[in-house]
């Protein structure tokens, strides 16, 4: 395998003087890099039982940059051992102390914001501009939100009668399994880990195969912050260790974010052991632009134009990517002209350059899929308005995975309008009135996100309540504050994240039914 020290210092590895961050492991980088990483189990770095490792490629360059453990079911067992060993003590930890740990995790992430942002960008391909402004700060905030939610947790008591009281306590589930996707590795880890720990559980986390490393960089920071065994990370292939974790009789719940069929498989595994599951799956979110957005050439119109172009955020690798733009017929030409001009201004290239807006797709396999979707779209009769092919940047980036921001015009029955492409590809169509906008918006198997853009508040409310999606962004898009519940309708999943209600998903209720009467019942 490639020796990472052979990576040549090139223009792409400029120092901070030019503003471009140095790649991990190179002199002057804010990110240190080892050639090989182990699993994080019981607060220690533990080699995989069978001693196998897998190469980890950076999509920025298309080259291997480190190795991580290629774990097997035995490694999942070790992680579960460590989690169970820590379970009772963590479960009995006071709310005050638990919240303090969550706040310390937040503080540590914040103190290492740049390092984690660069690491995430290097492994996933997303622009450092986004990790610095969105991914990492949102992760920090997530832990702080759940720290606060933890302190305010209360049980309930009910006076059944003069002598009988029902006490309701929240108790942890115990040990949970969590499988996270590649698109926002650190943020998705925060979304899963924060509520699980807040509710007093220990967790075994399996990161996605294309992005197993950034969470290990986070674990390095948490060695002395989280009690050993409370957080464990096992890396490896989904078919083997994802299955071992999800189907284990030793977890009390499985949480999963990923694709629809796999979500079904996960729920099936959970059913075998009668444990709860929450799954966040795909989407094909409609982004709806009513004619009144063009009533004035003002800030709001500018915001709406950006709203359409947000399909390129995180290179389109978002379950809630606004990948279907529905534009009212009467403004289509003028609005699309403005949007295409904005799309053509998107800067693409080295994700470690803070001026880059569109980075690299996460893997070669994702590139293949995007390419084949554009091909089927054209075969189905879609018109390519811009982009449509891989982008090349030469030098060290030449073998990286870059796809031009693309727009396909067509109709809602095309496969490119119905399936998640998971790339910077926008499907655009028109509607004639509100009723048709709603019909097209809901004509999808999915129901994760949607966007509604209009200056008319009543229409915004009507549309928002009628669209069958768990999150309807109204005159905005791609905001993910903690405290705003997030999850799917229809085949987009079961359960909600980002909200204190998650604490319910990660707890069980203990009812102590107490009698203060000394008199027998009189039955026997």
């Amino acid at each position: 395998m490639t020796d990472i020290l052979d990576i040549e210092r090139t223009d792409e590895a400029k120092g901070p003087q030019s503003g471009v961050f140095v790649a991990p492991g190179l002199p002057g980088s804010v990110v240190t890099l080892k050639p090989r990483y182990q699993n994080f189990i019981g607060g220690q770095w533990v080699a995989p039982v069978h001693g196998e490792y897998m190469a980890n490629v950076s999509p920025v360059t298309g080259k291997v940059f480190c190795e991580v453990a290629k774990s097997s079911a035995e490694d999942v067992e070790l992680a579960l051992d460590a989690a169970h060993a820590a379970r009772q003590a963590w479960g009995e930890t006071s709310l005050t102390e638990r919240a303090a740990v969550l706040n310390k995790i937040a503080d540590v992430i914040e103190a290492n914001l740049q390092m984690l942002a660069v690491a995430e960008s290097w492994e996933n391909g997303k622009p450092v501009r986004e990790t610095l402004a969105a991914d990492i700060p949102l992760a920090v905030d997530h832990f702080r939100y759940f720290a606060g939610a933890t302190r305010s947790l209360e049980g309930r008591s009910t006076e059944i009668d003069k002598d009988t009281v029902a006490y309701h306590f929240h108790e942890p589930l115990g040990v949970v399994g969590q499988i996270i996707p590649f698109n926002f590795p650190l943020l998705m880890a925060a979304w899963k880990i924060a509520p699980a720990l807040a509710a007093g559980n220990c967790t075994v986390v399996k990161p996605a195969s294309p992005t197993p490393w950034s969470i290990l960089k986070l674990a390095e920071l948490l060695e002395d912050v989280v009690p050993p065994g409370v957080l464990n990370v096992v890396t490896g292939p989904g078919a083997e260790i994802g299955k071992a974790l999800a189907s284990s009789p030793r977890i009390a719940k499985i949480g999963f974010t990923g694709e629809t069929t796999t979500g079904r498989l996960i729920m099936q595994y959970a059913a075998q052991n009668l444990i709860p599951s929450t799954v966040e799956l795909g989407g094909k979110s409609p982004n709806i632009f009513f004619a009144d957005v063009m009533d004035a050439d003002d800030d709001f119109l500018d915001k709406a134009i950006e709203g359409l172009v947000l399909y390129a955020f995180n290179k389109g690798e978002v379950c809630t990517c606004p990948s279907r733009a529905l534009i009212e017929e009467s403004i289509y030409d003028r609005f699309m002209e403005r949007c295409l001009a904005r799309i053509e201004k998107i800067t693409q290239g080295n994700p470690l350059d803070p001026t880059t807006m569109l980075g690299a797709q996460v893997s070669e396999q994702q590139m293949e899929k995007i390419t084949s979707y554009v091909a089927i779209g054209l075969l189905e009769g879609a018109e390519c308005l811009t982009g449509g092919k891989a982008a090349h940047f030469g030098g060290d980036l030449e073998e990286g995975y870059y796809f031009e921001p693309t727009v396909l015009k067509g109709h809602n029955k095309m496969r490119v309008f119905q399936e998640e492409i998971f790339g910077p590809v926008l499907a655009v169509t028109t509607f004639k009135d509100e009723a048709q906008a709603l019909e097209i918006a809901n004509d999808t198997l999915y129901g994760l996100g949607a966007g509604v853009w209009t200056r008319d508040g009543n229409r915004a409310y009507r549309m928002g309540r009628a669209i069958k999606a768990g999150r309807v962004w109204t005159n905005c898009y791609h905001l993910y504050p903690a405290g705003a519940a997030f999850g799917g309708y229809k085949i987009s999943g079961v359960g909600r994240e980002n909200h204190a209600m998650m604490l319910e998903h990660y707890s069980q209720t203990k009812n102590l039914l107490v009698s203060y009467s000394t008199k027998p019942l009189g039955f026997f």
Binding site: M54, P181, F182, N183, A208, S209, P210, P237, G238, A239, G242, K243, G258, E259, T260, T261, T262, R264, L265, Q268, L281, G282, G283, K284, E317, C319, S363, E364, Q365, Q366, E368, K369, S372, Y373, A375, I376, L379, E380, K413, R415, Q418, E419, E420, I421, F422, L445, Y446, I491
Partner: protein
């Protein structure tokens, strides 16, 4: 009768190899998100097929299924099962060492669609081994 799923020689070879290694396998077309258009390959019995799932075709002796709602959206296209380099990124079995299954698609022409309409959606054409 046009096939709903065609397999390349490389895919058929990979299936034969996989079956000799792990026993019978099945395919289920992925729904979306990160695994996008991938055909997921599971050991027979690993994935519970529901009464409403549609068996699109049989390739290399192995059934290829799709969700019934997804079938409605996809039925105007033919799937071509192939293999590509790289370990599967999700939960699918590998097609071989460092290989995964992929599908490409083509739109059926009018003649093919007419023929397909004469067959009910859950019967599959003769399997070409």
């Amino acid at each position: 009768m046009p096939r709903r799923v065609n397999a390349t020689a490389a895919a058929l070879e990979a299936i034969a190899g996989l079956v000799s290694e792990v026993g019978p396998v099945m395919f289920f077309q992925s729904g979306g998100c990160c695994d996008g258009s991938l055909p997921l390959c599971f050991r027979d019995g690993e994935f519970i097929v529901g009464d409403l799932d549609v068996k699109l075709d049989t390739v290399g002796g192995c059934p290829f299924y799709i969700d019934h709602r997804q079938f409605e959206v996809w039925k105007h296209t033919q799937l071509i099962l192939d293999v590509s380099a790289g370990e599967p990124e999700g939960f699918s079995l590998a097609a071989g060492p460092d290989q995964h299954f992929v599908i490409r698609s083509r739109v059926f022409d009018a003649g093919e669609l007419k023929m397909l309409a004469t067959v009910s959606s859950d019967s599959s054409p003769v399997d070409h081994k």
